[in-house]
């Protein structure tokens, strides 16, 4: 399964949506994923890809990990997988 597909499935599970309803341009707020859901998603991403995500819940926007849209999260995860494998 592609990284994009896996990340979308993780976010969809938190949003209680079907993966087909989670598009690359959607923001987490639009999908109804709150701060706890975001932290859970990051945990699930770390578990799924065995990577460490640089994310601090105190200042999510200031993190190196870009969470502005689903697409940016997918890109960031792809980059991390490349760096950490």
């Amino acid at each position: 399964m592609s990284i994009e597909r896996q990340v979308i499935e993780i976010i969809a599970e938190q949003a209680l949506l079907a993966p087909s309803d989670v598009t690359r341009d959607a923001t987490l707020a639009e999908l109804g994923v709150d701060s706890l859901g975001l932290v859970e998603s990051i945990f699930a991403i770390e578990e799924a890809f065995d990577i460490s995500v640089p994310f601090n819940a105190n200042e999510p926007e200031a993190s190196e990990f870009d969470i502005s849209t689903v697409g940016s999260i997918v890109d960031a995860v792809e980059q991390l997988v490349k760096e950490q494998k």
Partner: protein, 402 residues
């Protein structure tokens, strides 16, 4: 001072998943203690407990709730729902601000701690789920009850080992009596039946490997249980005005500290709490028909407790009944007083006194009427429920008939 009554009750424990099945089991002298079904039980020397069986968390909670609710919180929420539904209350506006939650627990989210220590130490994982802290904290159960029912007044958790839920209910009683709150959801919960929880208790060498037989000369220690008991305490006029069904009146409460030893109980400390509860409830010793004993089944507790009761009640000690329902549901540690209060309510309301089961042989040092093995019918108008904790902390509640 305001008067305080009980208008709702709920429970889940080894004897049943609600109040009617639990009371029926107590009446029938059912033993809820059996083989433990937990991971690595073969590495334990104590392999029995009063476990909640036939329980599937997924039948009650969704995946997201389960990621936040330790087993002790799940038990609390199930018991709280029963109690609040029975009371027929909903909380909004001023009532919400004047209602709160005080719950007892000793281990809090011990299963969560055990599972995650296992993950990082035994399995060498370097990452744990993000909600471990809000799941394991001792006040998680009280906070979730508050959130679920919009209880916005005084809310906190009390931890005094085996007396936790009696201390919690004593605080709830005091808050209403003094006028600081109108309704309090109170009681306690415990879920320590995991490998680490039982292993720690094994270390003390006070656990029985076969059964809990309080006051019997053949007793050989305590048996752990798990579960929750939750009640709705309500200011009496508030309850009367809305025509609520009153289960019993909380007539008095007292607490004391032995100030002597971290594990060995003291007769004087226990006696001061018992006498204090009578005085606070303005009861004469002869008014009390039934005492739900702390009755752990250890040599130290049972002798000390009987001696303390004999000291406080004098000649009446031979006429009252005192049983330990731990023989049936095990010792729920921080939740035990709450489940045991149900036996007091049954004595007052239904005129049925729960037995001490597993009783085989009299012990001259426990020469009271411990209602051996079979429940008894009796008219009881006042009861006490004893709890004496490690650390020498004692809490005794007096209930009277509604």
């Amino acid at each position: 001072m305001k008067r305080v009554v009980i208008t709702g009750a709920g429970t889940i424990n080894a004897l049943g998943h609600n109040v009617p099945t639990t009371l029926q089991a107590m009446q029938d002298g059912v033993c809820g203690i059996g083989p433990l079904d937990i991971r690595d039980v073969d590495r334990l020397s104590v392999k029995i407990g009063g476990q909640v069986t036939g329980y599937d968390e997924a039948a009650h909670f969704n995946r997201q709730q389960i990621s936040l609710y330790d087993r002790f919180t799940q038990f609390t929420l199930l018991a709280a729902k029963q109690a609040i539904d029975a009371a027929g209350l909903s909380f909004s506006g001023d009532l919400a601000d004047r209602s709160g939650v005080v719950l007892g627990t000793s281990g809090g989210g011990l299963n969560t701690q055990d599972e995650n220590y296992r993950a990082v130490y035994e399995e060498g994982k370097n990452r744990v789920h993000p909600f471990i802290v809000p799941k394991l904290m001792n006040n998680a159960a009280a906070s979730h009850v508050s959130m679920q029912y919009n209880l916005r007044g005084p809310t906190f958790t009390v931890a005094t080992a085996c007396a936790s839920s009696n201390h919690a209910m004593g605080q709830a009683f005091a808050l209403i009596r003094s006028g600081m709150a109108d309704v309090m959801v109170t009681g306690g919960s415990e879920s320590m039946l995991c490998f680490g929880g039982v292993k720690a208790w094994e270390g003390l060498r006070v656990m029985s490997k076969d059964a809990c037989r309080p006051f019997s000369a053949t007793r050989n220690g305590m048996v752990q249980g798990e579960g929750a008991g939750v009640f709705v305490f309500e200011e009496r006029d508030h309850a009367l005005k809305r025509g609520a069904e009153i289960l019993a009146e909380v007539a008095g409460f007292a607490m004391s500290s032995d100030a002597s030893d971290i594990v060995m109980p003291s007769k004087q400390g226990a006696a001061r709490a018992i006498a204090g509860a009578l005085k606070d409830a303005r009861l004469a010793p002869s008014d009390v028909g039934y005492i739900n004993a702390h009755g752990t089944g250890t040599a130290a507790n049972d002798k000390t407790e009987c001696a303390a009761v004999a000291d406080v009640f004098g000649a009446h000690a031979d006429r009252l009944m005192m049983s330990s329902t731990k023989s049936m549901h095990g010792h729920l540690i921080g939740g035990t007083g709450a489940v045991e209060l149900l036996a007091c309510i049954m004595a007052l309301r239904d005129g049925i006194v729960a037995p001490t089961i597993g009783y085989e042989e009299p012990d001259p040092e426990c020469a009271l009427d411990v209602v051996p093995n079979t429940a008894r019918e009796a008219t009881v108008t006042a009861t006490l429920s004893n709890a004496f904790a490690f650390g020498g902390l004692n809490a005794v509640i007096a209930l009277t008939a509604a």
